[in-house]
Symmetry: C2
């Protein structure tokens, strides 16, 4: 007998019909003799609808009331799903965050799980019951409802897998698994059978929307194997597991991209210790995320150019902050560019494959795609290109690294 | 300083705009120096929408899961309203049934309130905060969410007024108060300024939809003065108070009616002790509500006719049950009639006004309205008439008893 966490996302429970379908999947897995804990998201669209209402009420809606509001979405889906399982003649019941309880800190809207009480639910599932837990929510020490942030049901599932020491954690979603790239821009995209936590983290952070980066990180820390699979097909999906369990045959596992990037270059900065701090301190203090950073010294060796990328929406504020700190930073001029995209190749296998960098740049050059900036990590190379070249770039890289 | 319960129904918080309007009403009452406890229903339509979903999932949806499902409606409205009050710069917070807690028994879908803990909320309102309580819901000893039945937010408001010993309980709704009759069938209907609990109970039970009968009953038992008033006008509404505080100038206070009644007559029943029990026992055991009952002996003194009314929807089942028990009951034949209505005049003043009965029957006779059955109580006379005569009957009685 295995103990399983089955997590169903919003699109999997988006209608009454789909909820009944999910109940049948659960019935099948239950009949195989497994102990089942289900984690469920709000019906697709429900959370957005509630957020919209709160925005119409106040531009600055209270974060504690927002958590109480938003958690109702999973309350609806968890009770409907429980009712559907019961209707199939299987013992089931729903648990809300506060009923278990799932204790979190009081960082409302993006709380972290501290502890999950397990005895009541363990008793229930060991007696053949299916426990249906409302995802995304918990309760603070102050007895207020908390939520884990957008996509937080993935985090709930991973934490529940950890505290209940389950044998696996299956993330049911509306795609067949993690793909080598976005099928919307490259129809050659293929399902990845196995991917390491580290690779998945890069893929997720760079725009693959299958699983929340923080949930991937959390599963990595506690070494919880994840199986991302489709609600609408019985095929095996993508297993997210330890690097050590994967035999990398290819240098590159997947290709991700992100849009709406902007690039800022500060030209002719006097090159002295602390200059980067002078540039980035006011930007960071304004909650603007800096992504790639490149610094190079000019030919005379006395001044440097600092280039970095940010989200397009933060461009105006960033330029204002640099202008305001002109005297302190002491630079010659500032240039900027928007409508840029970051395209990344990701693969733990590239550590053992020399020449990946060269191969990537050559492939892009052959397509006349100009690289505006480069950043690398052990398992990732990212380049900045013009946004209208994304598709061309992804396609040539997908082919070059034998993912087609 | 007064301590007030202000209860807002579903139509009062049916849209984001209306929620903002309600927040402004609360702000005004708060600025007058009152301690405010708000009770709120689900946004209009929300509960029906959830019930519909549960019915699509199962014809026999689990009652505990249904309570968890339905209580989400008040969770949404209470947090939105709290957010709207906070946005006006007033300290506020929402409380769900389990957070207070409002302890109920475990009669899911129609639970009774046992106890409400008051200390946390008393501390909050005595420090100038507005407490917003989700109506309709509580929590059982088993830590499951319970609900109080349809219209249960009125019950919540009355119970909260009792446990918090408030000075008054104001029921805000979408009409200006309790009217002398249904304005949809008589445009001469007028607002009643004061009505006794007993009269209101009859009015509510007989179809005036302003307040749930069980909530009226509950306020009567604990002698809690109710003020039914409009969310959309500042005018005073209807005060529901003790009979002793009302100076009845008129014999009749209001006229109510109910549709979809059916009448069953069992003719030629052998008149012996226990025969009525033999008739009604099987019907009662099948959860069919019997309303009016008339028994009269035939001329020979050996047999009796028993006539009673039920809801139209229960007619078929009732006839089947009588047929099934034919031998035991021992009767000659059964006749029945449907599409009937009950029209009632209600007024504590009729105790002191002889001739009301006569006046009523004369008025109906003058309009050629045939009376099919009669039942009376100390403060009410009901007659059964054909459903298509409701409007005519209500209009003539409204005029006859000087309510125009």
């Amino acid at each position: 007998m295995k103990r399983l966490v089955l997590k169903f996302g919003g699109t999997s429970v988006g209608t009454v019909e789909k909820i009944k379908k999910v109940a049948n999947i659960i019935k099948k897995r239950h009949s195989e003799g497994n102990e089942i804990i289900v984690v469920v998201s709000a019906m697709s669209g429900a959370t957005n609808e509630l957020v919209k209402k709160s925005n119409l009420i106040s531009k600055n809606f209270d974060e504690k009331e927002l958590d109480s509001l938003l958690s109702s979405g999973e309350q609806v889906s968890s009770s409907l799903l429980s009712g559907a399982i019961l209707d199939l003649g299987i013992k089931a019941r729903s648990w809300l965050g506060w009923q278990i309880p799932i204790l979190t800190n009081d960082n409302h809207n993006s709380s972290q799980i501290i502890k999950i009480k397990t005895d009541e639910i363990l008793g229930f599932i060991s007696n053949g019951g299916v426990a249906v837990i409302a995802g995304f929510q918990g309760i603070s020490m102050e007895n207020r409802i908390t939520t884990l942030g957008r996509g937080g049901s993935d985090l709930s599932a991973v934490a529940i897998a950890k505290f209940f020491q389950t044998d696996s954690c299956e993330i049911y979603t509306d795609v067949e698994g993690v793909l080598t790239t976005d099928p919307a821009i490259n129809d050659k995209a293929k399902k990845i059978d196995k991917i390491s936590y580290e690779e998945m983290l890069e893929m997720a952070s760079l725009g693959a929307k299958v699983m929340q980066p923080s949930a991937v990180q959390s599963s990595m820390i506690d070494n919880i194997p994840i199986h991302v699979r489709s609600t609408f097909s019985e095929k095996s999906g993508t297993k997210i597991i330890s690097e050590s369990e994967i035999d990398h045959k290819k240098a590159v596992t997947g290709i991700a991209y992100s849009k709406n990037n902007a690039k800022v270059s500060i030209v002719g900065v006097v090159d002295k210790p602390g200059v980067a701090a002078d540039v980035f301190e006011p930007i960071g203090k304004n909650n603007i995320n800096i992504d790639m950073v490149i610094q190079n010294t000019s030919l005379d060796g006395k001044t440097a150019n600092i280039t970095f990328t940010i989200k397009e929406e933060d461009l105006k504020k960033t330029l204002d902050l640099i202008e305001k700190n002109k005297q302190k930073i002491n630079y010659n001029k500032v240039t900027h560019d928007d409508k840029l995209a970051k395209v990344s190749i990701i693969g733990a296998g590239m550590i053992a494959s020399p020449g990946v960098t060269h191969k990537m740049f050559r492939a892009l050059a052959d397509e006349k795609i100009n690289i505006l900036a480069i950043s690398t990590s052990e398992i990732k190379i990212s380049v900045l290109v013009r946004e209208d070249l994304i598709q061309k770039a992804v396609k040539v890289l997908h082919k070059t690294f034998e993912l087609n």
